[in-house]
């Protein structure tokens, strides 16, 4: 019997798992996919918001600023990629300036540090590649970027180090409400716990329905993103936001942590909870919009595109707290700025659990640190030589676009990668401009050898995502 079962191993579930692992609590995370962070998290834009966009009247507006301030320490402990590169909301005309002023005031009231209005001259000096038609900008230096999947991997790894149990490929199919808790049915087993945390993301309302709760709905909002070639690195140095609209912060220019520029997301409501499709319209919308703000960005630079779903609730705010079912706690409707808020959400959930009667007694031996993965390609030559001396596999290039070495592939597997995507998101092998054309079979060879699997048993991301099939045998599916 566990004390707490976390349903959903996205960035929220993983954040809570790590926070709970500080205490003498038996926690299990139930994740339906092959690895954590493979749902909404991996398609997140990766922005750590400064916090001035959301109104203080909302729960999301209250948690975002606290979340932002927690990232420096988290990054130093968990070693995921994070940089405070700052953010600009740009005014395309004089009529946008009052909005910037409102955002500045709203931010200052919430304690967002360093907000500053830039005039056209300053904007052109700081970001010379943006359109010279832009008239002004609001600068928020505390905004940053992270690789969201790396964050989830680091959180769960640290949580597991501290005793949390992770069960992947374990979708919750049915929940029995029993005396003193719950029994969760997965395809493999039944798991009992006293408390249930509903971190089901896009499916959180469906999870709530399993215990008879029908008081909220999740209405997925799709966002398409387009990743551009590395040669545009440095074109813009900060996150570029247009003036926000009611349903979205708009289409952004995002210099990702690794310097690759990403543009998007779109915002389109969908009924299909599996709709992670990209479209001609989405591409057109993104590039038409972005070319007005940064004329040198064109669709031709795209190396890959993807889409993700925001878990928007019917209240348009986070839904967090105890429910009519004792011990069942919702952590739902976590849309933007959910990633930024995640550390604050984790704290808040612990507070809720305490109020519900869970005793949170700190562990004496809590391990704070996760060593970050080695990043050979980002190092100077002397450091590279040092690594090679320690381990010759650092001299063996597996992915040439991102300069990923065989040692880093092994490291990814050591730290939990079980699929090709798991390797990609941990090591960056396959993320570059050739999109795995060169390294796919190499990564598969290493995975097969390390996991003791046949070549044809390797999957892209678990489930039915097989990559190759055996010769002479028809695969029944």
């Amino acid at each position: 019997m566990y004390d707490v079962a976390i349903i959903g191993g996205g960035v929220i579930g993983c954040s809570i798992a790590r926070e709970l692992s500080r205490y003498q609590v038996r926690t299990v995370v139930l994740e339906k996919y092959a690895e954590v962070g493979f749902g909404t998290t991996k398609t997140n834009s990766g922005i750590i918001h400064a916090g001035h966009h959301s109104s203080p009247d909302t729960l999301k507006g209250q948690l975002v600023v606290r979340g932002n301030t927690l990232f420096d320490q988290l990054c130093s402990e968990l070693n995921f990629g994070f940089a405070r590169i700052g953010e600009l909301v740009v005014a395309q005309g004089e009529e946008d300036i009052p909005v910037l002023e409102h955002l500045k005031k709203q931010g200052e009231n919430k304690g967002v540090p360093g907000l500053e209005m830039w005039d056209q001259k300053r904007l052109q000096r700081e970001e010379p590649n943006l359109s010279h038609k832009l008239v002004a900008a609001l600068h928020a230096p505390s905004a940053g970027v992270i690789n969201p999947y790396e964050f989830a991997f680091a959180l769960i790894e640290n949580a597991v180090d501290n005793g949390v149990e992770l069960k992947v490929d374990s979708p919750v199919l049915k929940i029995d409400v029993v005396k003193d808790g719950f029994v969760f049915h997965t395809p493999h087993e039944q798991i009992a716990s006293r408390f249930a945390l509903n971190c089901g993301g896009i499916f959180a309302d469906k999870i709530a329905q399993m215990v008879g709760l029908n008081d909220f709905t999740i209405n997925p909002r799709k966002g398409e993103e387009y990743m551009l070639d590395k040669r545009l690195m440095g074109l813009v140095r900060r996150l570029i936001f247009p003036v926000p609209k009611p349903t979205t912060k708009g289409i952004l220019i995002i210099p990702t942590f690794n310097g690759t520029i990403m543009v998007g997301p779109t915002a389109e409501d969908t009924d299909d909870r599996y709709d992670v499709t990209t479209s001609y319209d989405g591409a057109k919308q993104v590039f038409d919009f972005v070319s007005n703000i940064c004329p040198s960005i064109t669709e031709r630079e795209t190396i890959t595109e993807f889409a993700g779903l925001r878990a928007v609730s019917n209240t348009n705010d986070f839904i967090m707290g105890p429910t009519n079912i004792k011990g069942f706690i919702n952590v739902a409707g976590i849309q933007s700025p959910g990633l930024t808020s995640a550390p604050a959400i984790a704290e808040y959930v612990c507070y809720i659990l305490k109020g519900e009667g869970l005793v949170l007694k700190p562990k004496g031996n809590f391990k704070h640190h996760v060593p970050g993965p080695p990043r050979f390609g980002t190092l100077g030559i002397e450091e590279q030589q040092k690594l090679i001396k320690e381990n010759p596999l650092f001299a063996k290039i597996v992915c040439r676009c991102e300069l990923v070495t065989e040692a880093e592939i092994h490291n990814a597997i050591d730290h939990g990668a079980r699929t090709l995507d798991g390797i990609k998101f941990r090591s960056r092998a396959g993320m570059g401009r050739c999109q795995g054309g060169f390294c796919t079979t190499r990564c598969m060879d290493i995975l097969a050898k390390r996991l003791g699997l046949s070549f044809h048993e390797i999957t892209k991301r678990g489930g039915d995502s097989w990559i190759v099939t055996e010769m002479g045998k028809v695969k029944n599916r």
Partner: protein
């Protein structure tokens, strides 16, 4: 396999595919003593190892060989000619010292990170395949969408199949070859879909790989949607209108578990770019003189890194020449700079090399923009040649004799492809 890397070289060749082996042999022929090939794979030969079909060597050897046979012949010569060959090695950078010596940085599991000094360099890194990201295909992002060359590697080198029911987008040669290969392995190839009104592969491949096996080729048709969450389940294909946009009112679904992409190749020039070499935006390769020298003195380029070739025979020919000049350069031969710029004119997509000299005979490699038949090639006012037809998929090759250029006094020579009927002459 040789595995040594000592002292200073005359010529270092980056890449040991057909281009690199040709260049190394050319360099040795020129009299260069110390020649080194660096290759990132465990064996030299490049993409030829996975090209187990025949059709190689018809021009160069006047006999029909498979890819591995073609590689083998050159590999043996490389050994005979005492070229140093170091494999499993990745060239991570090249720098040029003040005296013109090039330092090539190499990473190798055995030797760690090493630097090799050389007088001249031949870039022969080949090319890579365009991916789904380089075109827009709407839909999901399942497993089972892969470039045709990767599928070829999976089948021919790994001994597995990419899937059982295959659709192919693009009619590049690798896609056509794979249509036949996978059919022979018992897969069902549902069709090849080509957005252009003509095939992008060689005519002989359309006949031998599709028509002979009854595989339909749908021209002016593209893949408009990919379905399936984990794995490809089907695709929606649609004819395209004049602006190449799919006409969804005439779309239909094709059931398949795999979508191969044969949508073109991109010369692999990250190393060239890091050297600051001048590039041709059309070919995606370096700009080169008639000695196949790039804008950086002593750095030469040949093969698919320069421009994508149709046949390996042409790669070999071009590379022998590049190696020859690189070898001479290493021995201190300095030729006068080219004095004639060669520029593409009407219906010419590109031509290589980018400049000429009356000093020597030139082989010009070029491609047209649009199919034309019958037609004529006009080189300035120097020469004109009739051709039965030109298509973008087939490289046009012709020679310009030095005595012809002696009569030329301008500095820019323009090449046009014009209809065969008497066109308007403006010279």
């Amino acid at each position: 396999m040789l595995d040594r890397m000592e002292g200073k070289y005359d010529v270092v060749v980056v890449g040991g595919g057909p281009a690199g082996m040709g260049a190394a042999l050319g360099a040795r022929d020129s009299g260069a003593e110390r020649v080194l090939i660096l290759d990132r794979e465990p064996e030299a030969g490049g993409i030829l190892w996975q090209c187990i079909h025949s059709g190689f060597g018809l021009h160069y050897f006047r006999e029909e060989l498979t890819g591995p046979e073609y590689a083998e012949r050159f590999f043996e010569k490389v050994i005979d000619y005492e070229v140093d060959l170091v494999t499993n090695s990745y060239v991570s950078g090249i720098s040029v010292d003040s005296d013109g010596t090039k330092s090539v940085r190499v990473m190798n599991e055995e030797h760690g990170m090493d630097t090799v000094n050389t007088k001249s360099v031949v870039l022969s890194m080949g090319c890579r395949e365009r991916t789904r990201g380089s075109i827009r295909i709407p839909g999901t992002r399942p497993s089972g969408v892969l470039p045709a060359g990767l599928a070829q590697k999976i089948v021919n080198l790994k001994g597995y199949l990419p899937g059982k029911r295959i659709a192919i987008l693009g009619s590049g040669d690798i896609g056509l070859i794979m249509a036949r290969r996978l059919t022979l392995e018992g897969c069902k190839v549902a069709g090849v879909f080509e957005i252009m009104p003509y095939s992008n592969g060689l005519t002989r491949n359309v006949v031998q790989c599709l028509e002979d096996f009854g595989i339909p080729l749908h021209l002016s048709t593209t893949v408009a949607y990919i379905h399936g969450l984990d794995r490809v389940e089907k695709i929606t294909v649609a004819p395209v209108s004049k602006d190449l946009k799919p006409d969804m009112s005439r779309a239909w679904d094709v059931k398949c578990d795999t979508l191969l992409l044969s949508i073109g190749l991109i010369p692999e020039n990250e190393l060239s770019l890091s050297l600051g070499i001048q590039m041709d935006v059309v070919t995606g390769g370096p700009r080169v003189s008639s000695t196949l020298e790039t804008s950086m003195p002593g750095v030469f380029a040949s093969g698919n890194v320069l421009h994508v070739h149709d046949l390996v025979d042409f790669v070999t020919r071009e590379s022998l020449l590049a190696g020859q000049f690189a070898g001479e350069w290493a021995q201190g031969v300095r030729r006068p700079a080219d004095n004639i710029r060669l520029v593409p004119g009407d219906n010419v997509r590109y031509c290589v090399p980018h400049s000429l000299s009356p000093e020597r005979e030139h082989t010009i490699y070029m491609r047209c923009k649009e199919a034309m038949m019958p037609c004529r090639i006009r080189v300035g006012n120097l020469m004109e040649r009739k051709l039965r037809f030109v298509v973008p998929a087939e490289m046009i090759i012709f020679k310009i004799k030095p005595d012809l250029l002696d009569k030329f006094h301008g500095d820019t020579l323009r090449i046009d492809i014009l209809p065969a009927e008497k066109g308007k002459r403006h010279d």
